[in-house]
């Protein structure tokens, strides 16, 4: 294990190298610094308390009286992983949970509170939904975090014993991918090639319809087509993304360029045809799945929080492997529009699914009730299925690893925040008020002798971006190659003024609409500001959107008996008005409201 490289993903090779979280320090206040602080003080305690309240921690002590679904163990593991990555001191919780988990491990290395005992289903009896390897994958990721941070002596051993058990038993594939990426990371930590081989076997076995036939169909489980042959991500969104991440990990470690290219192809297809403007993925509530190409209804958007986290996991692995900075664009988009949206201001409620068009006012959800229905609806304290909250927690805890990379020639900044960075032979003080402001000042505090390259991702949306006053091309990596000296300042300017965004005409659900983006932020209209029914809003897109407003007109709709007619005009009648915009990540925080991102355009 290289001491200077850390974080959740440390490939053996690749265009960019991960840096250790110590090498990246978010400073003081800032968009992400504040949210990491909220994670430590609000989200993590909230999640922990709910896992206790639901009885899912107790399952480790008393599996005979197991409560909750088959995969509840994984939430404890993700919580543990988050505690390890986080900067704050969670040593007491880490100690408690590590002991809890270790004691629940069977002598043969198996660990799982929902299977194998009297009255429970036998181990490995339900490949489709048993979630056993899924849970063990999260255990292993927690063990990796424990090893790399040194915060939980013993947890790596628990993880290794479980992994050894998996290697020994070699069960069939799991209905929910996760074990693959975990096993590769365990190989990376331990050097034990059996873990890599097992992960590769799981990836290769998938796609041949070997899972028992199920009403949901093989596509849901990604068992319809081998990874090497598939053209798109499809089926259950989180399953698809975790599998793809694991396939990238396998490909990088085995030098399998064909497999890597297959995932690149699928991810590119998915970004181009199956992704919401927010970066969210999953357009079907039913089965929490991808829909067909260009089926992206904003109202019934599923865009599960976990899918957002999983997309970041995948995109980051592709970034490290290929050096294509454009993968940072989707990471940024999801961070600001899915992750930031997901969490309540006090960290004690969250969205499971993310609509882009709320038609009925959001409800109030009591603070003490877990929601039965885990898709859709307002931010809630907890859900019967609560994969999303500890997933966000572990992402926020390990966030520094996603911001910066290094290479032999220098350092690459992928996300912009006020931070102190030491990597690639440079020590930098990055200062910015991004995303409120598009100016990023990068001051060199120290530099190795000789030329270094400072690489800056210019987002594809940033038309008009400049570096030190010179225009730079959006959607590219700007490489500033210099013999840097202390005191040098590189100034990046990203225009964050609001702009209209128009959808591909093949996305039927938003034809005739525009959206507004400002920098990386998707904007929206909320009924609290509009004070009229948002269903009747049409906007005048002939001028640029104002700093925080759109000009529009609330139409007087005719309420006909039948909503389809042969004649009549399409002109908007009604009151011209100025409608404030708010960042989409701020919606549903001021009380019940309707909301829409995509705004119908007034016919000319």
């Amino acid at each position: 294990m290289r001491a200077v490289e850390c974080g959740p993903v440390v490939p053996s090779s690749g265009a960019f190298r991960p840096v250790s979280p110590e090498s990246v320090r978010l400073t003081g206040h800032g968009f992400w610094a504040d949210r990491r602080a909220l994670n430590a003080s609000g989200i993590l305690p909230h999640a922990h308390a709910w896992l206790d309240r639901m009885g899912w921690t107790q399952n480790f002590r008393d599996p005979a009286h197991h409560t909750g679904r088959e995969f509840t163990d994984s939430e404890i593991y993700k919580l543990l992983e988050a505690y390890c990555w986080d900067d704050a001191d969670h040593s007491a919780e880490i100690g408690t949970l590590t002991a809890l988990v270790a004691e629940a491990q069977d002598k043969d290395g198996y660990l799982g509170t929902a299977h194998g005992r009297d009255g429970q289903h036998a181990r490995w009896s339900d490949p489709n939904f048993g979630h056993e390897l899924y849970c063990l994958g999260h255990l292993i990721q927690a063990g990796v975090a424990a090893a790399r941070t040194g915060k939980a002596p013993g947890l790596l051993q628990v993880a290794r014993r479980a992994a050894d058990h998996v290697v020994r038993i070699d069960p069939g594939i799991c209905g929910h991918p996760e074990i693959e990426t975990a096993l590769v990371e365990l190989y990376r930590v331990t050097g034990d090639v059996r873990y890599l081989e097992q992960a590769a076997a799981f990836v290769d076995r998938r796609g041949h319809r070997t899972l028992p036939e199920h009403e949901f169909g093989w596509t849901y489980f990604l068992d319809d087509t081998p990874v090497r042959d598939a053209t798109s991500l499809r089926g259950h969104a989180v399953r698809a993304l975790y599998l793809a991440a694991g396939a990238v990990d396998v490909a990088v470690e085995t030098g399998d360029t064909e497999l890597l290219a297959a995932v690149v192809r699928q991810f590119d297809h998915t970004l181009a045809r199956r992704t919401y403007l927010t970066g969210g993925m999953g357009s079907r509530h039913q089965d929490e799945s991808f829909g067909d190409d260009f089926v992206l209804p904003p109202d019934r958007a599923y865009s599960e929080t976990c899918a957002g986290v999983a997309t970041i996991m995948l995109a980051h692995r592709l970034l490290l492997a290929t050096g294509d900075v454009r993968y940072g664009d989707i990471v940024e988009r999801i961070l600001y529009n899915v992750v930031a949206t997901a969490i309540a201001d006090d960290g004690r409620a969250f969205f499971y699914a993310h609509t882009l068009h709320q038609r009925t006012p959001t409800e109030f959800v009591p603070a003490d009730r877990a929601q039965l229905r885990f898709g859709g609806g307002p931010r809630a304290p907890f859900f019967e299925v609560s994969c999303c909250l500890p997933n966000v927690a572990r992402l926020l805890a390990s966030l520094p690893a996603y911001l910066v990379t290094s290479s032999a020639e220098g350092v690459q900044l992928h996300q912009y925040a006020s931070m102190d960075v030491t990597a690639g032979g440079l020590t930098l003080a990055v200062r910015t008020r991004y995303p409120d402001d598009g100016d990023v000042a990068i001051e060199v505090r120290r530099a190795d002798q000789g030329e270094r390259v400072l690489t800056l991702r210019i987002p594809a949306w940033a038309a008009g971006a400049t570096v030190d006053g010179l225009p730079v091309e959006p959607g590219t990596a700007v490489r500033v190659r210099r013999d840097f000296i202390r005191g040098d300042v590189v100034r990046l300017h990203l225009p964050v003024t609001p702009r209209w965004t128009r959808p591909d005409p093949r996305i039927d659900a938003v034809r005739g609409c525009v959206a507004v983006e400002a920098g990386p932020l998707v904007m929206c209209v909320e009924s609290l500001d509009a004070r009229q029914n948002l269903d009747h809003l049409m906007v005048d897109a002939s001028e640029a959107p104002g700093a925080a407003v759109v000009k529009g007109r609330f139409a007087d709709p005719t309420d006909a008996r039948w909503p389809y007619r042969s004649n009549g005009d399409d002109c908007a009648h009604g009151t011209p008005t100025v409608v404030p915009l708010v960042p989409y990540h701020r919606w549903a925080r001021r009380g019940p409201a309707t909301m829409r991102v995509w705004l119908p355009v007034m016919p000319t």
Copy 2:
């Protein structure tokens, strides 16, 4: 029981009276005559064979080895009901199934093969999904059919004993409404007011969240709001529609004008805001449910066949009660665009759900496999859940009852087909090639002395309609009052030339699109005719659509990495072309194809 009135719905009072199926004879060939013949020779034997193959008939002999879901009994009852209504001779099948059902009845009158025995769930133990009253409702409707047609001596007694059991036990409400409408009809047949009181109790008990809390929520079960207070149909579509039908039946028999008005209000709201152009209802695959107002995505339309049948049931009851002929419009729309679409040409496969935008070519489904996933997908021979097929079968079998009504003053024609009608003091020969042709010739063969009123429904879409050459208002009832004599001919002309149809601008999913309708038929474009990717089609709506074609242009889409952009034009580029239209009910009959009803309009 009045011998001259028959069919599935015979209210004690109302603006229009049902006529017996003998009073309405579809003649020779014609759109519906042919489909009723297919029902007798194809659909019914196919359904019966599959019910046997699936083991659901065997459940009545051997419930200890019950196969299939809790509601499979209902399919046998619906089949029996269909056999009774149908004109052809099914006496052997009726005898077999009646004996089967009678022998399975318990001594206390309970009948249900899925509950109550060793190894089964106890009776009444699962109000949400036990479907026990649901099944008994269908049994009762079969008993009513048997009594009114005289074709199954003994079945009425079986139904009465079951109904007596229900009255005696008085269980809580059933998660799936159906018992309500059935009990009222049994009251109408027997005069036993306890059945009406029980039905009224079931209706009034609903909406108070007395069902156990379930992940699907109370709205799904229509248990969130009392019928009298609700403003729209909502939740699971078939449940909502069956409940509404039952509420109308109760209201008519008890003279409860408030309850009737509540259902009228809900149905009107649903027609105006939650119904597809095809008349289909249900816009969510998840939970087979209604969506919010104006959420009507054509691609993910659910529009379950059973919901179409149930809407006809409800609309017909409202027609009889109120005398508002416009309810015949929705019946017509569903008949031609949901029912006609549902069934394969040989009667041996059917759609469960009805998409209006097929994006990937329809698959081929083997003739010998029941589909696990019962929503979406191509016409299939059978599904694990197969409520739709026997529902269509009983509708087609009893179809004459939906075509014509009578009153003290005369006869009302609600649907147009070649038929001989004796009702309301008139004997008519109705001849037409509708819907291919809009001319309907109504010749008087015999007439009672004195003035009679012949009432004709003029569909709301029929701008330009004439009666005997005189313009008549669409969406109205034209009353031809005359001292009719033999040989009189009344000529109705309904313009069936293709017309553009534009959606309410609040239906986001089809903004910027038009559809084509021709008479009662919704038209579509199928890829087999277009020979290009339908996703790239844009139509020129500046001229009327041609007799069977639209002029369009297939755009050359740019395949950008990200489908949302800040600039660029919306103009269509690409090849001008003429694209044939086919009736929507004919789609997916010539091999794998993509299809769309709503066509993007070229920007001007």
